[in-house]
Point group: C2
Chain length 198, copies 2
DNA sequence: CCTACCGATCGGTAGG
DNA sequence: CCTACCGATCGGTAGG
């Protein structure tokens, strides 16, 4: 785990915002420094490389999604175990992470592939595992007849890209707040899989 | 309209592939040239700037989506006028464009914001107009009771980001072919909006 | 389409 | 966190 000072976190936050707007490759180390009112070279007092900043952001985002999904799953499963409720909780958790920090989520979704080496491989594995939660849940739901018979891999890709798309267009001062968006996304996502009106 | 020679098109194709993989900012002019086995500077015999290449790709992609949507709309409307059928045709058209040229579509979806000036403004307007097709169709469908009462702007964002997400993960040699994917995406998209099983 | 070259900017280091 | 600096690479031009 990286050392985490207040300044270090300010760097991540400034970088998240820039990476989301202009992309990782389109953002220079000096752009990040300028946002913090320091010299470009001064950034290296806190950070060993530009990629380390991306790594830090992506790691924190991945953890946020995983923690939210873990909590959603235990809560929903302990209450009913119904695949419909569990998927609803998972969708709500995902939307919650995105709306709580759209910069963080946006970088995780769109910029992770600029990572190299182990960080890239590890991130890919975490992304796969996260998507697997959706896929397995859909498989289970189809198996017990809670969901319409559909291709679980395709359905989870459809759903997850829709949820991730939110990280691209969500604005804090938008027309709909996080809860209203979550409600609608749960409705849309479940209806796509459940088929009959509930 | 730009001059279109065979070589010019090869440049676009090589660039599309690179832009989709590494992003516009992460791809150098020399990367594109290398893919064509020429010198970096030689590219400027065919092209006035790196951004012009992006502009050309984005314009062609935008036109492909518009043409496909126009055709889908006239065909579906002339047959029934049913919002469900019209949306099905629109989804199928969109998936068709993406699977026919995922590089072209991927660059349009993810790299258009690197455009500047008029090209950026024009592209933004075309994207808005395209999304408006979905939104209006959903509004109409809700109004006549063909779709579940839902927020049309949110529903169209949900749907369109799911469709665009396909440009990120679709591979020509993947498990499912274009038609199967289109079938499933139509099912998922319609079910999300129609609510009761058909 | 090539060679030769341009100024600007890139990520990063040295030494304080 | 700063100044001063590094080699490499960037998009692009001149002249053939």
């Amino acid at each position: 785990m990286a050392i985490e000072t207040a300044r270090r976190r300010e760097i991540d936050d400034a970088a998240s915002s820039l990476f989301r707007e202009r992309g990782y490759a389109g953002t220079s180390v000096r752009d990040i420094a300028r946002a913090l009112d320091i010299q470009g070279a001064s950034l290296y007092a806190h950070v060993s490389s530009k990629e380390e900043v991306l790594r830090s952001i992506v790691d924190r985002a991945a953890a946020a999604f995983e923690v939210a999904a873990d909590r959603a799953d235990t809560e929903a499963e302990s209450s009913t175990g119904d695949p419909v409720d569990r998927l609803a909780a998972l969708i709500r958790a995902h939307v919650g992470v995105v709306t709580a920090d759209p910069e963080l989520a946006g970088v995780f979704v769109n910029e992770w592939h600029f990572l190299t080496g182990d960080a890239r491989a590890t991130t890919l594995a975490r992304r796969d595992a996260y998507e697997q939660r959706f896929r397995t849940l859909i498989e289970d739901g189809v198996a017990v007849g809670a969901f319409v018979p559909t291709d679980p891999a395709l359905a989870s890709s459809f759903l997850l890209t829709a949820l991730n798309g939110l990280a691209g267009w969500y604005r804090v001062d938008g027309r709909l707040g996080p809860d209203r968006i979550a409600d609608h996304y749960v409705d849309l996502g479940l209806r796509a899989l459940v088929g009959n009106d509930r």
